[in-house]
Subunit: 378 residues, 2 copies
Amino acid sequence: MTPNMTARPPADIGVSLDDIDTPALLIDLDAFERNLRRMGDAARRSGLALRPHAKTHKSPMIAHKQIALGAVGVCCQKVSEAEVMAHAGIKDILVSNEIVGRTKIGRLVALAREVRLSVCVDDADNVRALSRAAVDYGANLDVLVEIDVGANRCGVAPGTAALELAGIVARAPGLVFAGLQAYHGPAQHTRDYGERGAQIAVAIRQTEQTRELLSSHGLDCRVISGAGTGTYLLEASAKVCTELQAGSYIFMDGDYAKNRAADGGPFGEFEHSLFVHTAIMSRPTAGRAVVDAGLKALGVDAGMPDVSGLDGARYIRASDEHGIVSLEGPAQSVSIGERLNLIAANCDPTVNLHDWYVGVRDERVEALWPISARGPGF
Amino acid sequence: MTPNMTARPPADIGVSLDDIDTPALLIDLDAFERNLRRMGDAARRSGLALRPHAKTHKSPMIAHKQIALGAVGVCCQKVSEAEVMAHAGIKDILVSNEIVGRTKIGRLVALAREVRLSVCVDDADNVRALSRAAVDYGANLDVLVEIDVGANRCGVAPGTAALELAGIVARAPGLVFAGLQAYHGPAQHTRDYGERGAQIAVAIRQTEQTRELLSSHGLDCRVISGAGTGTYLLEASAKVCTELQAGSYIFMDGDYAKNRAADGGPFGEFEHSLFVHTAIMSRPTAGRAVVDAGLKALGVDAGMPDVSGLDGARYIRASDEHGIVSLEGPAQSVSIGERLNLIAANCDPTVNLHDWYVGVRDERVEALWPISARGPGF
């Protein structure tokens, strides 16, 4: 296989910002560490477990830091992510997703012999396939029934459908019925806090009613997992979830920052700590700069990135390898070779484009962490 | 460094479609080879050189196939792509982009000692930096002046600005003025063929006038490089460009296929040969399936993918690891575990998410090609 020259780190430890090759994925280590501590503290105060989502960072280095500050383990979305985390010593992993197909299920149960592993289900045939594999490999697998509390993605309906599936899980050899997965993705991005609160109130009520229904049939939910960075305060105060799955708080997406918090102001608990560091490669007109970060360095599904700390500069268009930045006023003084820091609207798919985090403190590169689980994931 | 489990190939040679792990990036080898031959034949008939863009595939395996059918070399967008191609034996590479910064320029000229290498410029200071490095490393670098023929991205204005910069290149030690880069990106995606033709007519006129102006000052353009999959027939018949840079024709993006050809019908010369192969992982309601290919397996910047060969199925929403497919009519018979083939609206950023091509013929895996230059690129 041809060596992939693009997989080498874009900097050396100790160099200054200008010696980082571009485009690169920068972590402001001070801001990042404050974010880690703030969520760790918030979870501790709430009495709920924190199980951060590793799909955000895909990095065991970061997972270990979260656990050192009190997290009980991590969530993963793919078996391949769980494998990377387990091989790096993470001992408690929830695959917060349905796992389908012989190959994936085999790898899942093989991993369940090595670490504490939970998985979500929303289909009876899938439960039977998981059970057969667990028995076959001599593994014990914790299983959460995923209920659809408004996200309109995966999950069975709350109430009787969940009860029926939980019963099938509880009777299945090799599987342990552990509780519910109740995550409301779209609510994370609802701009108005009151509206977000109303969506989560419905989700919490449905989850609580399902928990009570199951309990009345002898099926106790040891775990109810849910919440994200945009709603975790709501779930924390409702105390129906037993654990919080927030992930994005470590980096703070551009889109999340546009949410409104309880007091009506901008979402203020967390800081932007992740930046796509990019160089200006062309200055064709007074009002236009072209940077070397386009669709292959930035997720733009939730909109164009913000330009950090340069008034009058707006990233207006992305092509595969280029970004067009419109310039007004003093921003027009930028020249070829200068660096800009971009705040991605959606961090998760942005991280997934890169192979390395470049950790920066006091204008110097202090850490290089591989994005070990990068990729579409199996 | 933790091994990246997601970088292993998603299939073994010889297995059937159902044994490919999902999501995977499939090439229909028959369609792909027909596309390769069609463009090779079209370039030969036109008398223009074909220099396909390797940013599309990032794979030396595919570059070698293009050269075997008559291509003179490849285009790259990044030095790291050029390095991967050069190390795999590609001897003639145009970096169809501006290369800025000490590190990148050093790598570029180092590579220019190994293979025939050309680069684009649109700034006098950048020309001087390239010249110093070329002299320093004892390299000879061919340089094209990029002119902006309507794309509003990089490039100097056609005419006198191009003349001035070409003169600076021609006088710069270590550099050889080779000609012009004149690529109109947005025109590739103009739906109406007449309108596209009008845009390219302007671009061609500006290019021709610039060529004549330079020639009248003793600066001959040996190379004029341009064109893409959406417009190559226009450039081929105008014969102002000396080489065609089309890249997407090998895979045929969903978006390109929505273009209208000369006869008013859908763009018909090339076939879709690239598919994101995905499994249904949840069937929560009659009208909804969830597949395991979302933003980390698919570029959605140009819109949602089309579902190939399943009437009534529409991919309507992508989250990080999930795709929501709405189902109508007979499509509602699909069940968990079944596979769908998705046609990405924009192939280049989709390819860049994956580590392997899985080549398929007669329902069997026949090739596994690494996407060796995957990544944001340095």
